[in-house]
């Protein structure tokens, strides 16, 4: 009942502000007293890109202070605990849409009226048309498109025999060496089926059947002895750089970062990339506090700016056209984006609903399989 009350209040507030019209939003940020925003994100290169593209300009503009909290990996647990305690200290949280769906259904985060809250594209296109498919959830607004890919260290294969498809990752004979994969069923099961010849459109239908799951695990069995399982996003680039492994699954931005800032000889296999969105949610009761920041941080320019620092595609179509070169290295960012057409040709969209239903069961099965 408490949730309901909050919800009603939030609706009332939304209405009141809607009346006050969007121009007030711009003014209010100047009139407002300076405040501290606790923003939860993923840490590492990703938080750096947000710092450069959103936080710094915002702090300069308003005098607010922004505190970065690297807790996105456990954001759902944190939100639950805080809401249970009635003491929500987070103001804005960067999380995955699958987690956002659960948090939204539990009433932990605010429903968002995107056309009301977010900026139009420079040409006047409303947000609901400007964001890519699936980017706007009931309580969620995406800022980036990122991708789970497999990368390899090009020094570990002869020049005339470099891997190029996801099948090669499962081919120990032609491409020997250790593989580093994430210690979770997500992505691995999809890749196993594709490497086994399943069409990418049928992957999730297959995984809903027992044969499909068995087929995926059977394929993973073929490389199981050569896999090192990682758990933290920072590990795969490290393992590749140390040549502890030849292949590693990773977030594409981390690999890009290692390629550009550390000059590592890594290559990304874009075949069968599993892409997904990532973006903002507002903990229940915090909408008024972060309204202006959210408007600012999701506009076309800011999303395009972020792409100068990390190779994640902006979630707005109007930003995609503005993606230019890397802020320091000066290289063209476009070919490194998951959404670049040649990279995107064989991409799979992660099915959040499937994983919301099956991740408990499949995680358990995956752990049992690992323990065998």
């Amino acid at each position: 009942m408490k949730l309901q009350g909050n919800h009603k209040r939030a609706v009332r507030r939304t209405l009141a502000l809607a009346v006050a019209s969007a121009s007030v939003v711009g003014l209010s940020s100047m009139a407002q007293a300076q405040q501290t925003l606790n923003i939860v994100s993923w840490g590492g290169a990703y938080s750096m890109s947000q710092q450069e593209a959103y936080h710094e300009p915002w702090m300069e503009k308003t005098g607010d202070e922004i505190v970065n909290i690297d807790r996105s990996a456990n954001a759902l647990a944190g939100l639950r605990a805080q809401s249970q305690a009635g003491n929500v200290t987070w103001d804005l949280v960067d999380m995955l849409p699958a987690d956002a769906m659960i948090a939204c259904a539990e009433g932990l985060i605010e429903p968002l009226d995107h056309d009301e809250l977010l900026a139009d594209a420079p040409d006047g296109t409303p947000p609901s048309e400007d964001f890519v498919d699936g980017a706007l959830g009931e309580c969620f607004v995406a800022s980036i498109v990122y991708s789970n890919i497999v990368a390899f260290n090009s020094e570990m294969f002869p020049e005339d025999n470099q891997p190029s498809t996801i099948k090669d990752v499962f081919d120990l004979e032609n491409y020997p060496g250790q593989r580093a994969l994430m210690r979770r069923p997500i992505n691995n099961l999809e890749w196993a089926l594709i490497a086994d010849g399943v069409d990418r459109d049928d992957v999730y239908d297959m995984l809903e059947t027992e044969e499909g799951i068995q087929r995926a695990f059977a394929k993973l069995d073929t490389i199981k002895d050569n896999v090192i399982w990682w758990e933290e996003g920072a590990q795969p680039p490290q393992l590749l750089a140390d040549q502890e492994v030849a292949f590693a699954s990773a977030y594409n931005g981390r690999i890009f970062d290692a390629m550009v800032s550390e000059d590592q000889p890594f290559e990304i296999i874009w075949d069968a990339q599993v892409f997904e969105l990532d973006g903002w949610v507002v903990p229940t009761g915090k909408l008024d506090k972060v309204r202006d920041y959210l408007y600012f941080a999701t506009d076309t320019q800011r999303l395009a700016d972020q792409a100068q620092y990390i190779s994640y595609g902006p979630a707005r179509m109007s930003s995609s056209d503005m993606v230019s070169t890397h802020a320091e290295a000066g290289i063209d960012m476009m070919p490194h984006m998951p959404t670049y057409p040649p990279n995107f040709a064989t991409a799979i969209q992660k099915d959040d609903e499937f994983w919301a239903d099956y991740s408990d069961e499949l995680s358990q099965r995956f752990d049992a399989w690992l323990a065998q």
């Binding site: 949730l3 456990n74 639950r80 259904a105 009433g107 502890e244 049992a368 323990a371």
Partner: protein, 417 residues
Amino acid sequence: MSESPASPLTTADGVPLKVSLRRAVRRSKVKALLLVSPLLLFLIIAFVMPIFDMLWRSVDNPEVSAGLTRTVEALEGWDRQSLPDEHVFAALAADLQEGQEARNLGLLSSRLNYEQSGMRSAITRTARGLRTMEPPYKEALIEAHDNWGEVDTWKLIEREATPLTMSYYLMALDRQLTPDGEIVRAPENQRIHVNLFWRTFWMSGVITGLTLLLGYPIAFLLANLPLRHSNLLMILVLLPFWTSLLVRTTTWIAILQSQGVLNDVMVAIGVIADEARWQMIHNKTGTIVAMTHILLPFMILPLYSVMKTIPPSYMRAARSLGGRPFLCFRRVYFPLTIPGIAAGGILVFILSIGYYITPALVGGQSGRFITNYIAYHMQTSLNWGLAAAIASILLFVVIIFYLVFNRLIGVDKVKLG
């Protein structure tokens, strides 16, 4: 009062001595209790209540009865054979409608999804479609999601409407309930926790054995050296004891990893080839080596305090009676140290089965303990009921060993440093 010799002794103010003594004892009892009570109160609030809260959470089952009030009520009197009637479906639609508006379907759908995969989307998808739904609800709901057309779904809802549930404990022991309420083992490919419990126990057993093997000679040496020397050597035992757990774990990473000190030395002196470095970390070996090192002082200290009390003359007497050294040791000295072995062994074992940090950092996949799964269910899968159930089982095991320890040695005999 007569002056007979049988008359009770009295104190100076005329109170019988017995009464006065009893009073004094009572006063001192009350005083002792008063002194202890602030701490007791503090621990009850900060420690005991949380533990009981956790035990409660492992059986607490409010989600279905609170989230599907009308449905549960309407299901009363259902024959459990065929699909329920329209009024049950209508009740479900009303419950979901209300839950959707209050935005609190999440806990309900997670709860049912633990029991049967697919229930999460059954609920969220149905709830989303409700707005356009028209009676009769039976057809409409089955249309929205197949699960509503299955008798087992309804049996599940009926079963989980009880305020208390065993299902977290069943999950923790790799068991599950059939729709008809029988307890069966989970499918083989989903059994995980029982194996982990056993692994935790046997690896802790190995660690306890190793600490005994390494700790016994050291304790013997310390107990038989003159104090001046043994005090110095004792510092070598206490230094690791006083050093941060994370520091000790870090050093083992530095030593054992494939680009680490030990492998480098082995390559340098030609024992192994550069390509064939030993994998000594992120597996069982890593956990066992690091934990043996960390827990060794806990074995040495109780052994030492027992050995200290064995007079050296016993061995000399045994020798003088003609016993061979080994026989004397086995028949005379060793039996006297058994209390120390028991104390150290139980202590190390209890500490070991509860370790989380070290297995998580150096254990990799095969060196994981059940504790790592408590953390996993707390932080990643968010199945807090299951986390609480696993923790409660582990707690139960620890308490049993603790009681044995207490009976054998007595906690108040524990010495530190």
